[in-house]
């Protein structure tokens, strides 16, 4: 039996049908991502699961218990659902300290004082925020607030973790780190998670399965590689293809650097992680804005050589496509170049590595 099942979910705001008959399921411990452009109904779906928005129709069921059934007029209020939702804005209560914020879910459940203190500490330790217990939210950075929000959600041990673009308010560097951290935490806790994002890299790197949405409907459901390799619609291909992708094989791992060799013999060093073992098939993704045109003899590591095969004028900049191996790598620059050989620099930190399971 699935852990969570959503079927035929609809939500109408006046004339706007924000969610239009959505159905999907999540298995116990699964990490599911709702991916789609802004305004496609992701948050509305998430809030309907949490019980914060009353849907217009459909059915939601968790652990065999019906939360909402439009035709039966059944609606379980949010406080009785035991779903943990992390808001995009974090929504920490400004008048409470970090410790009070985290203790609140236990207090409303009537947990004994002593146990609350212990659990709050445990939860804060989980997100490495123990030393900030007495601070107020406004005294924390965005990343710290995000961790506290997560601790507050985990402290009452929800049956389901719901995350609404939790990384979108962080700056690029922090976002990358928080992503890895979040993935680790989720697999450690093995909690069923519904993650909402509009960022395909986040979706591909974190999820067990991705639900691609557009205009309130589901476009495709599948594993990251299914979605990436075999997009069901041009929309998905375009949406997911925002990044450059290079596939290759892990050649060597030395310290915290893994060397990925590409089909054409060039190599790319990336940050090592436990799943990157030599011989492993991987896909490396890098955003166009993180690809830089450099001089042939640039001292930086991770230089890729290829030929410019395509040029697009974008107003202030040009976008070029460089053929590397069997792939095209796009990058942008203000320089006006012809169809020449180009050398590209890609910093190891800007590479996201997907280690796909099994074949490929």
């Amino acid at each position: 039996m699935p852990k969570l099942s959503v079927s035929g979910l609809t939500k109408q705001f006046g004339d706007v049908r924000a969610v239009d008959g959505i159905s999907f399921e999540a298995k116990d411990g699964e990490f599911i991502t709702l991916l789609g452009p802004s305004g496609c109904g992701k948050s509305t779906t998430l809030f309907a699961i949490a019980g914060l928005d009353r849907p217009t129709g459909g059915r939601i069921q968790l652990d065999g218990r019906v939360f909402f059934d439009g035709s039966a007029g059944l609606f379980v209020p949010p406080e009785a659902r035991n779903c943990g939702l992390v808001f995009q804005s974090y929504a920490l209560w400004p008048h409470m300290t970090v410790a009070d914020n985290v203790a609140f879910p236990l207090r409303v459940r009537g947990v004994k004082k002593k146990q609350i203190a212990a659990e709050v500490e445990k939860s804060l330790a989980l997100v490495e925020m123990e030393s900030y217990a007495q601070r107020y939210p406004h005294e924390l950075s965005g990343g710290q607030q995000q961790r506290v929000a997560l601790a507050r959600t985990l402290v009452f041990r929800p049956s389901l973790l719901l995350l609404d673009e939790p990384l979108s308010n962080l700056d690029a560097k922090l976002r990358l780190r928080a992503r890895g951290w979040l993935k680790q935490l989720q697999s450690q806790l093995n909690i069923t998670t519904i993650f909402v994002t509009h960022d395909q890299t986040e979706a591909l790197s974190l999820s067990d399965r991705i639900v691609v949405m557009d205009g309130g409907r589901i476009m495709q459901v599948g594993t990251p590689q299914e979605i990436y390799q075999d997009p069901a619609t041009p929309f998905i291909a375009d949406f997911i293809g925002g990044s450059n992708f290079l596939s290759g094989t892990v050649a060597t791992v030395t310290g915290n650097v893994a060397l990925v060799s590409l089909p054409d013999g060039q190599t790319l060093s990336v940050s090592a992680s436990p799943e990157l073992t030599p011989g492993r098939q991987v896909t490396v993704s890098v955003r166009p804005e993180e690809v830089h045109l450099v001089h042939e003899s640039d001292p930086r590591p991770n230089l890729l050589h290829g030929r410019i095969v395509q040029r697009e004028y974008l107003g202030p900049r040009y976008q070029y496509s460089v053929s590397i191996g069997d792939r095209l790598v796009r990058f942008e620059t203000v320089e006006n170049l012809g169809s020449v050989d180009a050398t590209l620099a890609v910093s190891p930190e800007s590479c996201t590595v997907f280690a796909f399971n099994g074949k490929h």
Binding site: P78, S89, W93, H95
Partner: protein, 587 residues
Amino acid sequence: MEEDVQAVTVGTSRFFDADGFDPSAVSAERFPRTRLIQYSLALFTLFLVAAPLVPVLYQSLLSVPIYESGGTLNFDAYWRFLASPDFQTAMVNSLVLAFGSTIVGTVIGLFIAIAVARTNMPARQLVSGTMLLPLYVSQLVLSVGWFIMYGPAGYISLEMRDLFGTVPWNLYTLAGMSVVAGILAAPLTFILCIGSLRLIDASMEDAARSLGAKPPRIIWSVIIPIIRPALVYSAMLNFISGLELLSIPLIFGRPARMIFFTTYLYNSRGGSVPDYGLLGAAAAFFLLLITGLVLIQGRLLRNASRFTAIRGKASRPKTFDLGKWRYVAAGLVVAYLVFGLGLPLLGLVLRAFVEFLTPLMAPWKLLTWANFNIIFSNPIYIRSITNSILIAGLGGALATLLIALVTVVIHRSDFRWRKPLEFIALYPRAVPGMIAGLGVLWAVLWIPLLSPLHGTIWILIIAFTMRNIPTGYGAMSPVLLQIDNDLDRSARSVGADWWTTVRRVVLPIAKTGLFSTYVLMFLSFFKEYAAATFLYTRGSEVIGISMLEFWGIGEVGPAAALGVLQFVATCIFIFAARKILGVKLHA
């Protein structure tokens, strides 16, 4: 249809190791209190607002006093009332006074608002601070001050006669009263207009100026149209207040034997057996008249958003350079503040400390504590002061709590009737203070369950609360609307029900707004007297009532002394609110 399932435990998840802790099992099954609380609040508000209205309308149709059984329902009282010459005179006088005071108040208030918000007149800060004070002081107190200085035997009037042989004004006329009422109403216009004046996008003025328009023309053709909603609103409010005005008609109209609508009602309060039917018809007529005006006000403002040139945040505060004229403008504003508000207050204070006030003798030769001794030697007057403080302090707090909760239900809940509830909460704008008082009195006489309230200060608290729900709602709404929705939604998602969320998250975050609302309620309750005129009995007087009693028997000195006490207490409270609660009253 809607079936709210209350907290039931959800099967444990196997996460967080196997330490056995399962908070979802701890959660106690809760009583479905959300709807109960919301319905109770809504019904209580409905009761508060309807309690005074229903008896008035009922009595106006009833042939016998409301507390008697039997009687028939008919329109007799209305015909008697409408046909009475007293009514017709009162109606005309009231309309003229309301109209006159609206014009005077709007012109003065708008002039000062433009000078403060859009010009480089000197001392703008000081002026805008001072303009606030009259809003928190009883009109009765200021009117007494005017009487003492500018009345027919007033200090300044007599001085004028000495110097010039004649007094160019007479406050015992409709024109005189309109000017006084207008001068006292100007601060309200000022406050209501200055907000939108400050927010006008400077680029609109720039545009007009670049087309060659001169400042006066810009004021006329750019600024006035833009602040029209605020202006219409304040003019309507002034007009309604003019109709409801009791202090000036009592103080200046009575001696001139001029009758107004409010004094007509006030007078029929006396006598051994009032004509209930007539009183009911008069009150109902008054109520319907004001309701009509409030509805018109709403209609006029319905399309107000068309006019908004207001951006979310104040843009560059751009001011006209008035050149030398800025001193002229400052002179006019200072003259208003000194002659219109300062001197009457000074007169009030002087009068309180002397045996009599005359230009013929220096006041310090007549110094006396006698006026205060009269008050402090009589338990009735002392009690009226303690009652006022108690009603404002305790009643204001209760009213703030009620209004805060009602506002929360309206803005932060999925309560099915929240739109009608908002309408109910705003309706008392259409209920004049005296009618609210009369209605509550009749409700208490009519409904046996309420009779223990008769003669207690609770009946006053009820009437004052009813009257001030819209004011409190107006103060509380923006505060709640500013709080991010996610903050209460996150509380709900982690397991708090609506009521816990309100108590532990919404209201604590709105704390500053709650304090401001309390300060506003305290000051409104403290100065209210019109709603008490029908309600008080021996034991439940308030300061304003005692003042009117002294006034009625010609004892100006003690009345002035009470006015001084009220004024001083108001100032102390405003100061304390600032120091202790951190509440700053501002325009």
